[in-house]
Symmetry: C2
Amino acid sequence: MAISQNITISQIAEKAGVSIATASRVINQPRTVKEETRNRVLLAMKELNCQIKRNTNKILLASFTDFVNPFYSQCIAGMQIAAKRRGYQLFLQQIENAENPSSYDDLINSKLFQGVIFCHNIPSGETFDSLRIKYPIVMCSQYNKDEDIPYVVVDDYNSAKNAVNYLLSVGKKRIAFINSSKNYSYSPLREKGFRDALKASGNPVNDNWIIHLTDIDFNVAFSVATTLLSSCDKPDAIFCASDVYACAALKAAHTLHLSIPEDVAVMGFDNVNLTTMTVPTISTVSQPTYQLGYQSCNLLVDQIEGNPVPNQKIVLATEIVVRSST
Amino acid sequence: MAISQNITISQIAEKAGVSIATASRVINQPRTVKEETRNRVLLAMKELNCQIKRNTNKILLASFTDFVNPFYSQCIAGMQIAAKRRGYQLFLQQIENAENPSSYDDLINSKLFQGVIFCHNIPSGETFDSLRIKYPIVMCSQYNKDEDIPYVVVDDYNSAKNAVNYLLSVGKKRIAFINSSKNYSYSPLREKGFRDALKASGNPVNDNWIIHLTDIDFNVAFSVATTLLSSCDKPDAIFCASDVYACAALKAAHTLHLSIPEDVAVMGFDNVNLTTMTVPTISTVSQPTYQLGYQSCNLLVDQIEGNPVPNQKIVLATEIVVRSST
């Protein structure tokens, strides 16, 4: 959908005396807003002479930063099935730089789609506002903590806590954590889960053993894991925020002739195919990847069609999958 | 582009006394057709009162069967850059069943795109004709041998020949081949290269050691490789049509306590990230994956814009990358 070009959502919000988030909800999810507030925003829109033009193509877009991470293929499969069942077509895009507001210009000006699923961060502020006044939006496996937007994620805090508790239960005490960039919404949550589980067990948290990597890059993770495991004072387990990192840690241990899991246990996150392709196979936190895609697409279609949705913020549970690396 | 709905390309071709392929070329690549033939087709179209309506959105589509194969991510990166440089937006789709003509109905009826890159087979006959009268089409890493359509591929025959010659050069003589489904256009070409290299060397070709797998599936390949390597009369090398198969062969050898490359050498195809993530790393045939995407997108835009393109069938060379598995 779109509103008349010259009126911004902040003008509407200001005139109605509500926040931008509320004005956006009136347009995209009217049933979630109190009737009195809704009427105020609709009156402001009427006075500003701006009308909502709804796009009637039954076409959705899912936006990714890359297709390298094997995590996404199952997620896409889930979205695809949900879109088809609801009578929508789904297209995908690769965005060049998700942090750069100008990367979203085409999407803000496009007339193709009825709604968008973002599988990456969106810059807060103006870009976010322009996107959400234009489209119903859902975030998949990510969320913007500064914005009130529907999302489907996993319970990152408890997943990391469970993983650490499992490593402690098999006798590991000196646990390192190769985490992703703090830009990912899951990263601080997994770190908090990691720290809390260690603290609760009475084992020390070594800040030098908590490492943040910018990208899901095998080579960088291999180099970091090699450094960790070459030290005299080395960890006896490495918990990794991605199976790609875990695969790198496995190879680093192998290269240093450490036995797995005796000298060092390795645990991943995601449960992508890779975890069964290695020797030894990799224990991991299994994400319901297909469900993440399926439910985020359903949530988007519900918004487009104005269906009442009791829970717009869905948090799915994960499972520990034990294989030979722990 | 589209022609008036009730006229089919075969009616135009029949009236003009040319093949359907030629009629399609007049519409999509007019400069590749002799003037006299072109005039005949244009006259037939005039008499049938059908006009070409060109879509002016600068939007392209790339169609995939899945995003699981890590091969595609580099390919998408290449398409993306080419599209951007030429001023086009690129969207992607996952097609549910590429063999089923009805999977193409939405695309045939869509008005969104100016041209399509297919990274998979398309059923010959009516579907192919409907698509190519609607859009300029390019095939990437695939081609339909029954249809005259622009494509960008690698030299599969010589790539397989070079791989086998390399395995022979390191002393291997009993070489098995885990190939993909015969539905992929590359599969018979790689098989011919494999057979010809072995024959030329005077080594026997064992038909039981040439196996076709339906999908790029790690588990099936692992089971096949385990069977091959469990036999008393076993190969001393396995050449694989995909790095995923090679990774499975590596694991099968490891599980059977065979040493690599002494007891069995393993060689893949594609040079995806996976080949450096395993222990040992995997020798492979490196495809110019980024270039496949980049050039196929350029070829598509050239067709859309009616630029003269001397070579519509581009065959790129590959390279042997030697790592520890051979």
